[in-house]
């Protein structure tokens, strides 16, 4: 039985015309952001937002809750940082190495966990991610508590100097946008249709002759790869890969971002990531314990606000429109 967490249909079948206008507004915002905020902060937000989109792809598309997504984010970060710093790989190649390792790890996790569902799936992914955490603590190249610092940004295609914060920002923004549009496309692909149907009624999909485990595995690997992209870009843009990238706290944070923004909505994870990263920054400044606030938000969302911000907005909008029509 698949779990009905969130509901992707609201956005996936939403009007495509208004989507285009929204996209245009989004692109303008992306272009303007580094002039409004500190570019490094904006990059961090975008990387977390992309990570949240990756997680959302998994839960919104297949209904599988992973508690160990930081493993993929962290794998992307560590491998990209290591190849860029120690091997001197150029930006593109380091990025690819990071993504490839996250994808391979996703395949390993997926093959292990996909046969169990629901609560077990969550526990297994959490336990596997903890194993990766221990590896990051122990492997020689990860430098234990210090992590990999001062990762060089290099040049994009040997031309654009990424040490310039604005250049790095716009590369990050372009990658984020591509990832975001990829999720949108996946949900509106034949593959996405199959995933939605599996989430809706898995036994029926089996009886229709679909090998559902293969679809779920593919979606899981896809999500892991995208999380790897986010981690790899983050490591190079911020210049740092540390234990906190593979930590359980990061896995929990991404769950919260998606929950807060609205599971299964396209824009939700982005909204959630912006709010959580900003809150993190703000609260740390005034000495309020962040985990406590995060925990409280978790509980409030689950008890009274399960659609999340964007999910709620879509719901209200649809109801208002239905009311206007009647």
């Amino acid at each position: 039985m698949s779990l009905e967490l969130g509901d992707v249909s609201a956005s996936a079948t939403g009007a495509r015309g208004s989507g285009l206008i929204g996209l245009a507004v989004g692109v303008v915002l992306l272009i303007a952001a580094p002039f409004l905020f500190y570019p490094v902060f904006a990059m961090e937000v975008l990387c977390m937002a992309l990570f949240a989109c990756a997680f959302n792809l998994l839960i919104g598309g297949g209904g599988l809750l992973s508690f160990g997504h930081a493993a993929f984010f962290g794998a992307g970060a560590y491998i990209a940082a290591e190849t860029a710093k120690s091997f001197g790989f150029p930006f593109e190649l380091a990025l690819l190495c990071g993504i490839a390792s996250a994808t391979a790890l996703g395949l390993l996790f997926g093959l292990t966990a996909i046969r169990r569902q629901g609560l077990y799936f969550a526990m297994i992914t959490l336990a596997l991610a903890q194993a990766i955490y221990f590896l990051a603590l122990r492997l020689p190249f990860t430098n234990s508590e210090d992590g990999i610092q001062a990762v060089p940004r290099g040049k994009l295609l040997g031309l654009v100097d990424l040490t310039n914060n604005f250049a790095m920002y716009y590369v990050t923004a372009a990658i984020f946008l591509a990832g975001y549009l990829l999720v949108a496309r996946v949900w509106r692909s034949p593959f996405g249709q199959v995933l939605r149907a599996i989430k809706d009624n898995e036994p029926r999909m089996i009886s229709l002759g679909y090998p559902v485990d293969r679809y779920k595995l593919m979606n899981f690997v896809l999500s892991a790869a995208l999380a790897g992209v986010a981690g790899a870009v983050k490591a190079i843009a911020i210049g740092l890969a540390t234990l906190s990238d593979v930590d359980f706290t990061t896995s929990a944070a991404v769950v919260l971002m998606v929950l807060l923004g609205g599971m299964g909505t396209l824009l939700g994870p982005v909204v959630g990531a912006v709010l959580i990263v900003a809150m993190d920054e703000y609260l740390a400044g005034i000495g309020i314990p962040v985990p406590v606030v995060i925990g409280v938000i978790f509980i409030v969302i689950i008890l009274v606000f399960r659609r999340g911000i964007v999910g709620e907005a879509v719901y209200l909008w649809n109801r208002w429109r239905a009311g206007a029509r009647a």
Partner: protein, 289 residues
């Protein structure tokens, strides 16, 4: 390698294993009745240790009183949380229960980190258990002997209570078919609250036992939780005895690996989990469904 080191690690493995057993036993009881995986189980373990420390530090109440009072306090906190928060998600998909308890974990842990930082608070061995015995092949610290004895007694006592007593038969019946048990006139919702209290009290008790060995650290719960989840996946939620046996033997295996290949000791349980999932996806004692 010396035999002393081997037996020392085996003993520590047995102690850790009995903590795993107590925590996963609590998880199994809670899961049976509530169909919820309690991610806050680690936080209740930490809470048990901290209440013991606070009793001593602020009120001067010693170990032996704490041994009784701390689990009780943990149970009360747990039951209040079950009634006020967890009871609201019974009609939602089970994952919401996991997410809710994850939020609880963050709150409880976050508060203690905020107040006490991440370095541990020392908690002395209780008077009377400070020395040790020379067994010839190894030195047996008295407190560790007590911990092994107390936690094994507690595990098997719980097993006995569930499998052999009338109250235990209520619990097993309600795990199988709660509606029918209610139709016999038994107040199952109240049982659910008590079961949650018992389940977290087991974690709290393990926390008290652990306090003098590992110090009292706000992060101790999160660290043990992932291992306990792996133990639960390996054993499966099928049987009470299975949870105890799996917990103990994995603790011992982990201890052994510390002797033979210390670099991998943190990983060994996770590797076993992967192998078990490949061979027997439902877990060693789980029912295939």
């Amino acid at each position: 390698m010396s035999a002393t080191a081997l037996f020392g690690q085996l003993l520590l493995g047995l102690i850790n294993g009995s903590f795993y057993a107590m925590l996963s036993l609590g998880l199994a009881i809670i899961f049976g009745l509530l169909a919820i995986v309690n991610a806050a189980q680690g936080a209740f373990y930490m809470l048990g240790a901290f209440i013991a420390w606070m009793l001593l530090h602020y009120l001067g109440i010693g170990y032996w009183w704490a041994f009784v009072l701390a689990p009780l306090a943990v149970a009360i906190v747990g039951m209040i949380i079950e009634r006020t928060l967890i009871a609201r998600v019974y009609n939602l998909p089970h994952l919401y229960g996991l997410l809710l308890t994850l939020g609880l974990l963050q709150i409880i842990q976050g508060m203690f980190v905020h107040w006490y930082g991440t370095s541990g608070q020392p908690y002395n061995y209780p008077a009377g258990l400070t020395g040790g015995y020379n067994l010839g092949f190894m030195f047996m610290p008295a407190y560790r002997a007590w911990v092994v004895g107390a936690s094994l007694t507690c595990c098997f006592g719980t097993w006995y209570a569930i499998e052999k007593t009338r109250l235990g038969s209520y619990l097993r019946a309600a795990t199988e078919n709660p509606m029918l048990v209610r139709a016999f006139g038994i107040n199952v919702p109240r049982m659910v609250t008590l079961a949650f209290g018992t389940g977290v009290a087991l974690a709290g008790l393990a926390g008290v036992l652990a306090a003098p060995i590992y110090q009292v650290n706000p992060l101790m719960g999160a660290n043990i939780l992932t291992t306990v989840f792996a133990v639960v996946v390996i054993g499966g939620f099928g049987s009470i005895l299975g949870a105890i046996v799996t917990g103990l033997s994995l603790g011992v295996l982990e201890g052994l690996s510390k002797v033979f290949y210390p670099e991998a000791s943190n990983l060994v349980i996770f590797l076993i989990m992967i192998v078990v999932l490949m061979v027997k996806p439902a877990g060693l004692f789980g029912q295939t469904r």
